[in-house]
């Protein structure tokens, strides 16, 4: 376990790193907004970076941020294959919310989530459910089993 100062330093490094990603992500969301059907493939960039944020947030024990990043990741996956403009628009709106909240929570990582963020999480979960829900996942023990069955 890292001492608090070391942990703080690592989180600050992550926040600095996230700034670059956030700028690119905002640009991509703007592009999708302007051309919903034509640019929906760009959601894949968003989902991939959200996996990276989720993984790093988990490693830094920022589970609430990891949860929102995970929701953003799944909504972006749905957006990339959405079959109507309203669905794509809904994904874009949700991802703006997710991105803004992740950025805010990272800067204020030592404070618990407030009611506003809880409402947002609930809204993201509802959006994801309305789009068909998250993809099936596996945990470590299932991965072990898959790897054993292979050999």
């Amino acid at each position: 376990m890292n001492p608090p100062s070391v942990q703080h330093e690592k989180i600050q490094d992550f926040i600095n790193e996230l700034t670059g990603f956030a700028q690119t992500a905002e640009q991509i969301l703007n592009e999708i907004q302007e051309d919903l059907e034509g640019k929906k493939g760009s959601f894949s960039f968003f989902s991939e970076r959200m996996v990276a944020i989720r993984g790093t947030a988990l490693q830094l024990k920022l589970d609430h941020i990891a949860h929102i990043a995970g929701l953003g990741e799944e909504i972006a996956v749905k957006g990339a294959v959405a079959d109507s403009r309203p669905k794509i628009r809904k994904c874009v709106g949700s991802l703006w919310d997710a991105l803004t909240t992740v950025k805010y929570l990272l800067v204020h990582y030592d404070k618990p989530t407030d009611e506003e963020q809880d409402i947002l999480i609930h809204r993201l979960e509802s959006t994801l459910t309305s789009l068909g829900g998250a993809r099936p996942t596996v945990d470590e023990s299932e991965i072990e089993k898959i790897l054993k069955e292979r050999t």
């Binding site: 690592k10 490094d13 992550f14 790193e17 991939e48 970076r49 996996v51 990276a52 989720r54 993984g55 790093t56 988990l58 490693q59 830094l60 024990k61 990891a66 993809r135 099936p136 996942t137 596996v138 945990d139 470590e140 299932e142 991965i143 898959i146 790897l147 292979r150």
Partner: protein
């Protein structure tokens, strides 16, 4: 081979994670750790240094972890190097895809030193590196 001589290549594009992985590997006694940001640099290292183990993130650009795995498995001089995917990606279909591509093991983030140690030692012993 002595543990201190084992070359481990880490490919990870998030610097905050690079630091964590290097720390974990150092904690469990490894010292020859090469960390790169992307798959292109990884190919360069693999073709110019002796590497006994690869720890690779999945979602990276311009070369994904899966593409790097495919490159390693299809390159005669590299194909036997143990390859561990280190990722938060736990979507069932994608994990199965990594297994199909020939990944040796899989580390789900968040990583702990015990978890990393167990998998790394087991693979190095299995491949008679240690």
């Amino acid at each position: 081979m002595l543990q201190e001589d084992v070359g481990i290549l880490v490919i990870e594009d998030v610097q905050a994670m690079q630091v964590q992985i290097r720390e974990l590997l150092t904690q469990i006694g490894f010292s020859r750790i090469v960390v790169v940001d992307n798959g292109i640099e990884a190919r360069h290292v693999l073709n110019n240094q002796l590497i006994q183990l690869i720890l690779c993130d999945w979602h990276m650009t311009p070369v994904t972890g899966l593409e790097l795995l495919s490159y390693v498995r299809s390159t005669m001089s590299l194909k036997r190097i143990p390859f561990i995917m280190v990722t938060a990606e736990n979507t069932r279909s994608l994990v199965l895809e990594a297994v199909r591509f020939g990944v040796d093991d899989y580390l789900l983030k968040p990583l702990t030193s015990d978890q990393v140690g167990n998998k790394v030692y087991a693979l190095l012993i299995k491949h008679q590196v240690l």
